[in-house]
Symmetry: C2
Subunit: 245 residues, 2 copies
């Protein structure tokens, strides 16, 4: 039975899992669960993931949720996955766990909180919350600074934990930052502009996962265009991005 990946490409951890499968030739069925249509809250999906979040996978009779756990499982359980994605070496593996753990309460909380409270909230029936946006921006900027000055500190490091090959941590964190695409351009540039290494690293990760990276992000680029048009024409955002990132 083929691996099933329950996902919505508007969700950044869903994109990371889908790109990983495609890059590594893992055969899978992409089961699309529209977050905008609240399919992730259906009783059927709660049988797969009682937390009602995407992505989740079913591999035979084995069910799993949480994207980091899924990426680790896929790296380990499927044959022929190159070692660099999730190295066997204990120290390298420990560093991957460390950056993925850090991600949860820092980069992810900052980026998702900022995008939600500056752009996406109305399309989810929520009010924009400037106070929450300001708090999330602080956390996002602090996290970007740590990426630039610590995780990417090596002068020749193309990736977080290796000079020349990506790991699941690169894929996860870069997919997270890609959601900044839906921000107003001035906001995106203000946030990312100061961090040259971060920008290069996003590009490096994109390059080694092409053409899948762009193909899987297409939905995001289309949303960006749609939201931009709404900004220019002044139409409400309720008709806009009816999804949750």
């Amino acid at each position: 039975m083929k691996l099933k990946v329950y996902s919505d490409r508007m969700s950044q951890p869903s994109r990371a899992v889908i790109i990983f499968c495609k890059v590594n030739g893992i055969e899978f069925e992409e089961v699309v669960l529209s977050l905008a249509k609240r399919k992730h809250l259906s009783p059927e999906f709660k049988e797969i993931n009682p937390m009602g979040k995407v992505p989740a996978i079913v591999d035979g009779r084995f069910k799993l949720f949480e994207s980091h756990a899924i990426l680790i499982y896929l790296s380990s359980a499927f044959p022929g996955i190159p070692d660099h994605w999730y190295p066997n070496d204990l120290s390298k593996r420990a560093k991957i766990h460390s950056v993925l753990d850090w991600h949860h309460s820092n980069l992810r909380a900052g980026a998702a909180g900022y995008v939600l409270n500056t752009v996406l909230a109305p399309s989810l029936g929520l009010p924009l919350n400037p106070r929450a946006a300001a708090e999330a921006e602080k956390l996002l900027s602090k996290s970007l600074s740590k990426l630039e000055t610590f995780w990417l500190k090596g002068s020749n490091s193309k990736f977080l934990l290796s000079s020349n090959q990506p790991s699941i941590a690169d894929l996860s964190l870069v997919c997270e930052l890609m959601q900044l695409q839906v921000l107003e351009e001035k906001d995106r540039l203000r946030l990312l502009g100061p961090y040259e290494k971060v920008q290069k690293w996003i590009e490096n990760t994109r390059n080694v996962t092409m053409p899948h990276f762009d193909e899987v992000h297409e939905i995001l680029f289309k949303a960006k265009e749609r939201i931009q048009k709404q900004r220019e024409t002044g139409t409400g955002s309720k008709q806009g991005l009816r999804s949750k990132m």
Copy 2:
């Protein structure tokens, strides 16, 4: 060179790492970094963990932070650690990653946010924030409910992922919940009272890690007494728990 564990027992992830070492007979030097005295922000410690958080470890020349990553590393790198803490079986291991990932944005965010904003903030020079406390309480209650109805759903399950043996996930999450001890008793009972399986699981995890569990939590029980006395005598909390949990 002996393993060094940089920690403050007032921090719940520090306690999890220290208990793990003691239960498994790992020789280590406990380097106490008082959070109350802001030692975690010193330039010396930033060399160990640039994020300025405890716990962190140094094993030979290898430095690592983030408690989940540390628990996985210790389980894997030190000889003779019983398999149940972090099983070699890929599916069991994946479930441990899943619950640990879930912990970050749910149980941990809820418990730490609630305790900070109802008890600890003044001792850290911060105002108590009822709005943040209310938000954290919602997340904490939702997380406790998920623990009770999903993670601990098996009728005979003594632990999260096994009927009879604990994993690093049990240790991490139980240490998190132990911080509720410093709450007013009525609040602690209101929050934990509805969840019988959760209460039993905390006790089961305590029992299999005794006497180390109680010994490492002694600092917390003393803080509880001190704070309770302050409540009774009406003295300010600034002289109270001068530490960060």
